[in-house]
Symmetry: C2
Subunit: 303 residues, 2 copies
DNA sequence: AAATCAGTTTGTCCAGGACAAACGACAAAA
DNA sequence: TTTTGTCGTTTGTCCTGGACAAACTGATTT
C-alpha cells in the first residue's frame, strides 16, 4: 500500500502547512519555543522539513484536534504519540467493530465492492436507516482509523466519494421541493467536511422536508442573505471534530443575531455536542436520530 | 438579493485571506509597495479591512487569475477594474448566451426549478450530451458571471451542489467496474474544483470505462501509490482557470517521473490548454469532446 | 456544583529586509 | 516568421524576533 517514494526528500514550509494544516507562523513559533520541528535549511536559509518530521507533525495535529495541548505532545516521541492516540480513541472503540467489514473494503481500495455493498445496504435498509446505521458508524470508523494513521489520504477520499455518489443519488430520487419546513444546510467557511451535511439531508428528505444544501464553506453574511431570500424556516450547520469549539459557538451566536427569530438554527456535529448551555436560541442536534426529534419538535410548534 | 449587513464593519487579515485567497504576506507587501489595500488599525495596531476594500481585492484577485499583473490593477478604481473584467470576458461571450435561461435560475435562487430543469435536460439529451452541451456551458457562464460579480457565493455553491446531485446520481446508475481502461481521476492538492472531474467521469463512464474518482486535493505521492496499487491504465487530472499554469506543469512532469510509462497521464482544464509542447509524455485533453478522442486513441493503441 | 481569579500557554499579528522565480521586451539565430 | 536567449523589473514567499490577547489550568470562593 505504501510503496517507497523515490524523490521528495524534504518539504518546504508551505507544503507542510498544506499537508498538516498547521499555519506557517505556528510552525516557526514551535521551532523557536519547543525546538520541534527542527527542519534542515537549503542554500538560501529556507526550512526543509524531512518526511518523518512531517509525519510526526500530522500525528500532533490530530492529537491537538482531540483536545491535547501542544506542550504535552510536541516533545513526545512517535511511539508515545501513537500510545496517546490509542488512549484518545479507546472510549469510542465500542461504537465501531460491527460495520460488516465495509472498513476493510476502504482499507484495501476495493472501491467497486464498496460501491456495490453501499448500494445493497441502502436498498435493504432504506435511506434513513442506511445513513444512521451504516454510513455514520462507517464514517466514524474511517475517521478513527485516519487518526491512528491506518488509512491514508486516497483511502479517505475514496470513501467520501463513494458515499457521496450513493447519498446524492438517493437524495435526488426523493426530490421534494414543496414540503415544510424549508431547511437550508451548509457549513461555516473553515469547515470542509461535506458528509455531515449529506447525512442530515438524507435523514430529512424522506420526511417531506424541502432541503437545500449550499455545500461547504459559506460566509456568514451569505448564509444570512440566502436564508432570508429563500424563505427558509430552518438553517442547519454541521461541524466536524476538527472544528474549534469556540469558533463554532461565536459563529453560531453571531448568526443567531443576524437572523430573525422566525428562522430556527440547528447545529450538529462533534464540535457542538454538549454545548447546549452556551447556545441560547439554537437547537443543538446531538446525532442523526436527534435530527428527527428536532423535526418533530419543530412541526409540533408550527401546525 | 444583497440585503445590507448590519454588523461586520471591518475584517481581520486572516478573514481577508480566507475570503480573497490572497496570502497574508501578499496583503502586507502590497500595502507596503502599492499603498493598497490601506486598512484601518484597531486598538492593538492590527489591520482592519473595510468591506469595500475587500470587494476590490476580490475583483483584483479575479483579474490576476486571468493573467493581469498586480501593478496594472492595484492602482485602478473599481470602475476601471470592472471595465477590465468586461474586456477579459468578451472573447468568450459567444460561448454563453444559449443555455436556456438556466443561468437565470441560478441567479434567482430558483433551486427547485434548477434541479428539475437539469434532470429534464439529462433525460432528453443523455449523459454525455447533457454534460458537454448543458453543464459545461452553464458552468462557464456561472464562472463568467462570478468574475463580473453578478453571482455571489451562495449562488455559485447552489449551482455546484445541484449539478453534483444530478451527475453523481447518473454516474452511479451506470456503475461499470469491470471495463477497460481503468481511469483514476483526481486533482492536485491546491485545486478544489470538483466539477471538472465529475464531467470527465460522466463522459467516460457511458463508454464502458472503469472510472474511480478520488475527489479533489490528493497529494502527489498518494496519487502515485493509488495509481500503482489499483492497477490503473490512466491517471486523469483536472485544473481550473485559477490554477497557476507553472505549478500545473511542474506537478504533471513530477508525476510523470513518478509513474511507469505503462500508465498514461491525461490533463484537462483551462490551466493546461495549449501547454502541450511543455508536457512531453502527457495527453493534454482540450475539452470534453476531446476526452472521447483521447479514449479512442488509447483503445487503438491497446487492443 | 458553579463562579472568580491569577498565572501560564499558545496562536496570530507586526515590521522590514532579502531573494529567487516569473514576467516583459527586445535582440539574435533558425 | 518563428524560436531561442538575455537582461532588467516585478512579484510572491520566506526570514527573524518581538508583542499581545485569547484560551486554558488550577486553586479558591460562593
Amino acid at each position: 500500500m505504501n510503496a517507497p517514494i523515490p524523490s521528495e526528500a524534504a518539504a518546504s514550509i508551505a507544503a507542510v502547512e498544506r499537508d498538516t494544516g498547521l499555519a506557517k507562523d505556528t510552525l516557526r513559533v514551535w521551532e523557536r519555543r519547543y525546538g520541534f520541528p527542527a527542519p534542515a535549511r537549503d542554500a538560501n536559509g529556507e526550512r526543509l522539513y524531512p518526511p518523518e518530521q512531517v509525519e510526526k507533525l500530522r500525528l500532533i495535529r490530530r492529537l491537538i484536534d482531540h483536545g491535547k495541548r501542544p506542550a504535552r505532545v510536541v516533545g513526545a516521541s512517535i511511539e508515545e504519540l501513537v500510545a496517546m492516540l490509542d488512549e484518545c480513541l479507546c472510549p469510542q472503540a465500542g461504537a465501531a467493530g460491527r460495520e460488516d467489514g465495509l472498513l476493510e473494503l476502504v482499507r484495501l481500495h476495493r472501491s467497486a465492492e464498496l460501491a456495490v455493498a453501499l448500494r445493497q445496504a441502502l436498498m435493504k435498509q432504506g435511506l434513513q436507516r442506511f445513513v444512521a446505521d451504516t454510513v455514520a458508524p462507517l464514517a466514524a470508523a474511517v475517521g478513527e482509523a485516519w487518526m491512528r494513521g491506518e488509512v491514508d489520504v486516497p483511502e479517505e477520499h475514496l470513501f467520501t466519494e463513494q458515499v457521496q455518489n450513493v447519498l446524492r443519488g438517493a437524495i435526488g430520487a426523493h426530490a421534494t421541493h414543496e414540503g415544510r419546513p424549508r431547511v437550508l444546510l451548509t457549513t461555516f467557511p473553515e469547515e470542509e467536511h461535506v458528509l455531515g451535511l449529506l447525512m442530515a439531508e438524507a435523514m430529512l428528505v424522506p420526511e417531506g422536508v424541502a432541503c437545500l444544501s449550499l455545500g461547504t464553506r459559506t460566509p456568514l453574511a451569505d448564509i444570512r442573505s440566502a436564508a432570508l431570500g429563500g424563505g427558509f424556516d430552518i438553517v442547519g450547520l454541521s461541524f466536524s471534530v476538527a472544528y474549534p469549539a469556540r469558533q463554532a459557538i461565536d459563529g453560531l451566536l453571531e448568526l443567531r443575531a443576524l437572523l430573525p427569530d422566525t428562522i430556527a438554527i440547528w447545529a450538529g456535529g462533534a464540535a457542538v455536542r454538549d454545548k447546549h448551555k452556551r447556545l441560547p436560541g439554537i437547537r443543538v442536534v446531538g446525532g442523526l436520530d436527534d435530527t428527527l426529534a428536532a423535526l418533530r419538535d419543530w412541526r409540533a410548534e408550527h401546525p
